[in-house]
Amino acid sequence: MRNLLRRITESAVYRSVFRHGFPDTNRNRSLAVFTNFFLHIHPVKVRRRAIEFPRTLYLGGLSAACFFILVVTGVLLMLYYRPAAPDAYHDMKDLQFAVAGGVFLRNLHRWSAHMMVALVLAHMAVTFFRGAYRPPRQFNWVVGVLLLVATVLLSYTGYLLPWDQLAYWAVTVGTNMAEAAPVIGAKLKLLLLGGHTINGAALLRFYVLHCVFLPLALILGLCIHVWRVRKDGGIYLPPPSNDRKP
């Protein structure tokens, strides 16, 4: 058994994937983080007080986790959903009552979406009250605000997709609010809806925004956001003298 394990770990294939030994020394532990695509967003070493739960409540990470759940469940829902009137409503009902596990996926998508908005807002509140938005992190705060906007727009565009009465009137109200914008209002509403009333064209536009443009924008923003956290010196730590637990 031990022999087999050694043969695997000394094989050319294994050594081409993992270019360091077992993480049993400090050097190899560092390399394990440093050379791993999924771990490299973390520093090789972090201060214990930077990763204490009460400092960040892990809200940023939890928001990202919600986004991950939303992408996975959303892509699966796309297999049964046609963004056309009136099929969209029937497909949504099919997902709820006919598709095996459909109601679970739909509700998971829905609740994760609500949760993500709440978590992003809470993440902002913690960042604000900790004072972590201050220089040198001021640009990352702006990126965070754009991510909040992307989150809310994703939530809003997803609202129309069930194609029920709630969806219809919510988007009626929302696009009329967009129309109230000075100068560009009327044009903005026309471009959003692809017409003057909410019909199949509007549903398709909201679908494409919801499934392609906004998620891509959010992923790009998220990459910059996480990258900037590292570049701006990691998780914000107040000076030890002001800290309750130094």
């Binding site: 009626t172 109200v173 009329n176 044009k187 026309l190 471009l191 017409g195 009333t197």
Partner: protein
Amino acid sequence: MPLEDDLSFPTSEEEMARRKILTLLGTGALTVAGLGTVITALRFLEPSVVYEEDPRVSVGKPEDIPPGTVLVLPKQKLYVFRSAAGFFALSSICTHLGCMTRYVPENAQIACPCHGSRFSLEGKVTAGPAPRPLRRLQLTIERGMLVADTSKEVPPGTLLAVT
């Protein structure tokens, strides 16, 4: 010895002028191409053809509608009233944020379910956040039929008298 760049910077006046013109031409071409792309993209996003309902709605023969009638046409999103003096039509789309209002005969008023706006049967705002009275729509008689045009607004107080 100070570190020197491998590419020595061109200092001749002629070379600098040449580069300036080339830069100008380059940025100019990029600006034109960029503007063209933006305009083309915006034109693409704006629908050239929309498949929507005809704004002109035939309501019926005027002689079939007795005075005092309130006609509710939810699909066409309008109300048609016949008072003693004549006909008028109101859009049933709330002027606040576009919800569909409802005629409440018990209180002789029009109510919006979204944010609680109330209108009189003349379309005037009596309560709630609606900023303007309900749109009064053009009514005409065509080939003996009463026709409402939901795309044409007429001033308040306009009546269509039918003899």
